[in-house]
Amino acid sequence: MAAIVPMFSAVASSTRHILLLLRCISFAKKALVRISAEGLRFSTDEGSSIEAFVFLDKALFTSYTYHAPEPASSQDDPPEPPFFEIDLQSLLETLNIFSLSDLTSSTRSGGYDDFAAHRLNRHAGMNAFTNHAMGVTGVCNFSYNGEGGALSIHMFESGVTTTCDLTTYEADTVEDIPFNRDSLSVKTIMRAKFLLEAVTELNSVNPASMTVFASPGSASKPNLSLSAIGALGTAAIDFTTATSSETPVLESLYCPTETSASYPFAALKAAQRAMASATKVSLRLDDEGVLSLQFLIELEVGSSDGSGAVAFVDFRIVPLVDDEGAREHGGESTSE
């Protein structure tokens, strides 16, 4: 290539963080990529019922350069920052190749082995054979030349130089699922593993949907209940804030009135990897019943700024609307 200054280039000292974060949203084949001066935003969606996104802040990279595209002439508005679609599977497999010295090379084939993922990710930083511990550099260069160009990833390791050019596809602008964060009906924060355990437990009855019920709490009603009905039975996990424990499961709860909504269980399963990788999750319902799960993922020490970096993975799930319309009061949902 001639001496074109690439529109975007970044160097990552380890692809493992990126791989971890992208795996959390990898339920779809393709991902939408948005490049900006602050970082890279990857998003995936399934129909218009579930959407997930993760923002890779430029601080996660050792170096990050972005040259905004120039407008065609001084009269024009500056063009939109680049966004395109790539095949997410290919990107993940490529990053997988680049973390050769990492743990298991087996890839997940669609289904989520959540327990193993949980175990793997919990111990991701503690293995003696990680890149950092071994002092092996897995330095990776990313670059993008502009519309129509490929997203290139370049790496040098043990005498071999590997370059991957990912085809970028034109993306249709997809409206994000709207979430009204100013008008919440429920907000709670808990450790992600409790949510994972609850979803795993519900999964055992093979349900089609999961119901979230929340109330201010009383003798007869739990603060938060996750329930499901399936061919093999029913299950419900109730959470309460009424506890003398110093470390309550629900670290905080905001719920002015009773509310409930149901979601396709497949959407919850799509978020399992994020649940397994995250430390905490913030679960919110807005007044339309849209469920927002925001996962806080701690990236182990070793990121460029030296301190323990964090990243957020967000899921938004549209509620199921049954024949009776959105419910106002609690109780287990009848099967759809």
Binding site: I86, D87, Q89, S90, E93, T94, N96, I97, L100, S105, T107, S109, A150, S158, G159, V160, T161, T162, T163, C164, D165, L166, T167
Partner: protein
């Protein structure tokens, strides 16, 4: 005809047999006074022709036959041979000989192992491996007898702490008439365009396998059943290229991406003029000499590459020969074929190297 020998290095022979077994089910084994040749020619996919000096795997090599040079040609099934060698992994001695039982010719391996067994029943050898109809195992020289027999032997030897166990593994073979092997010869190929010493084969295999997995994983889900088919022609194709300036490139192209790995600083061995037809003049006109004029050592230029397309899984199996160590020279005939020469150093000082030659046809673009 007679053939008998001590297997000198079971581990080497086992690894060698394993490399052959990945390519095909049966091998043509040609033994004579000078060398031992193992050839695998599968229906489709890579062929391997290997020439080993007997001392690489055998000691006290004795061979005798009516044919010139005491040549014996055998057809040997590789999986039973592998199973037989498994019994020999912890052996203190292993012998192999050509014999006949009930009119069936076989290669009989006699394996002596020690087992320390303070108490308990007689150690059954890894006879379970040999029981699939191909091998029979005998304990302590008794016939594969009844339970009574075995119990007796337990009582008799039960008190001993250490004992020597002799296991016999039989591999049925076919003796080939000279006429049937006359027509077999190594594939003839034009002079290669590029010859280059390959980097560490296990590293190359690691990367090749990941590329193959990448291609398989990212294939559209509707064709995931491709796993079930074992036909090598349906697998993902990797593009392997070399140039005369020490560069080797492995590439994979799918709809969604193009990925390649590049090695530089590799050695291009000099051709020996005495080996080239027409000597020095032939050397000047040799395709590889012409290739040297093109391309560069950074590998960035598009010029000067000789390329072949190999099927990912077949290539991975060929590369498993890397566990034998040894120097590997790859000869590329652009768009046509790839020939790999694997040199195993001789145990004896000044002895000839053994060579395994792999012939791989290229798929068209």
């Amino acid at each position: 005809m007679r053939f008998r020998a001590e297997i000198r290095n079971v581990h080497t022979f086992t690894k060698f047999t394993a490399s052959l077994a990945t390519l095909g089910h049966i091998a043509w084994v040609r033994l004579d006074s000078k060398d031992c040749r193992f050839t695998v020619i599968p229906e489709s996919g890579t062929q391997v022709w290997s020439v080993l000096t007997p001392d690489v795997i055998f000691d006290t090599y004795t061979i005798q036959s009516a044919a010139p040079n005491n040549t014996i040609n055998l057809e040997v099934p590789l999986a039973p041979l592998q199973r037989a060698l498994k019994s020999a992994q912890t052996a203190i001695a292993a012998n192999i000989r050509l014999t006949k039982k009930d009119n069936v010719p076989l290669l009989s391996l006699t394996i002596t192992t020690t087992t320390s067994n303070p108490s308990g029943p007689a150690p059954t050898s890894t006879a379970s491996d040999g029981q699939d109809g191909f091998g029979t195992a005998t304990n302590n020289g008794f016939g594969s007898g009844t339970d009574d027999f075995r119990e007796e032997s337990v009582d008799f030897f039960g008190a001993r702490q250490d004992r020597e166990t002799v296991v016999t593994q039989d591999v049925p073979v076919r003796v080939l008439a000279p006429a049937s092997v006359e027509g077999l010869h190594e594939p003839r190929c034009r002079e290669p365009d590029v010859h280059i010493v390959l980097p560490n084969l296990m590293q190359l295999k690691g990367i090749s396998d990941r590329f193959t997995k990448l291609a398989l994983e990212t294939k559209s889900s509707s064709t995931k059943t491709g796993f079930a088919s074992s036909s090598s022609s349906s697998g993902p194709k990797l593009e392997l290229s070399g140039n005369m300036h020490g560069c080797l490139r492995l590439a994979l192209t799918t709809d969604a991406m193009h990925i390649h790995s590049l090695w530089t600083g590799l050695e291009n061995p000099e051709l020996d003029p005495s080996q080239v037809a027409e000597g020095e003049a032939g050397l000047a006109n040799h395709p590889s000499t012409k290739m040297k004029a093109r391309g560069d050592s950074t590998g960035q230029s598009e010029e000067g590459w000789a390329t072949v397309r190999v099927e990912g899984r077949d290539w991975g199996r060929v590369l498993s020969v890397g566990r034998l160590g040894g120097r590997v020279i790859a000869c590329f005939c652009d768009e046509h074929a790839l020939i790999l020469y694997v040199f195993l150093a001789s145990e004896e000082v000044g002895g000839a190297d053994s060579v395994l030659t792999y012939y791989i046809s290229s798929y068209s673009a």
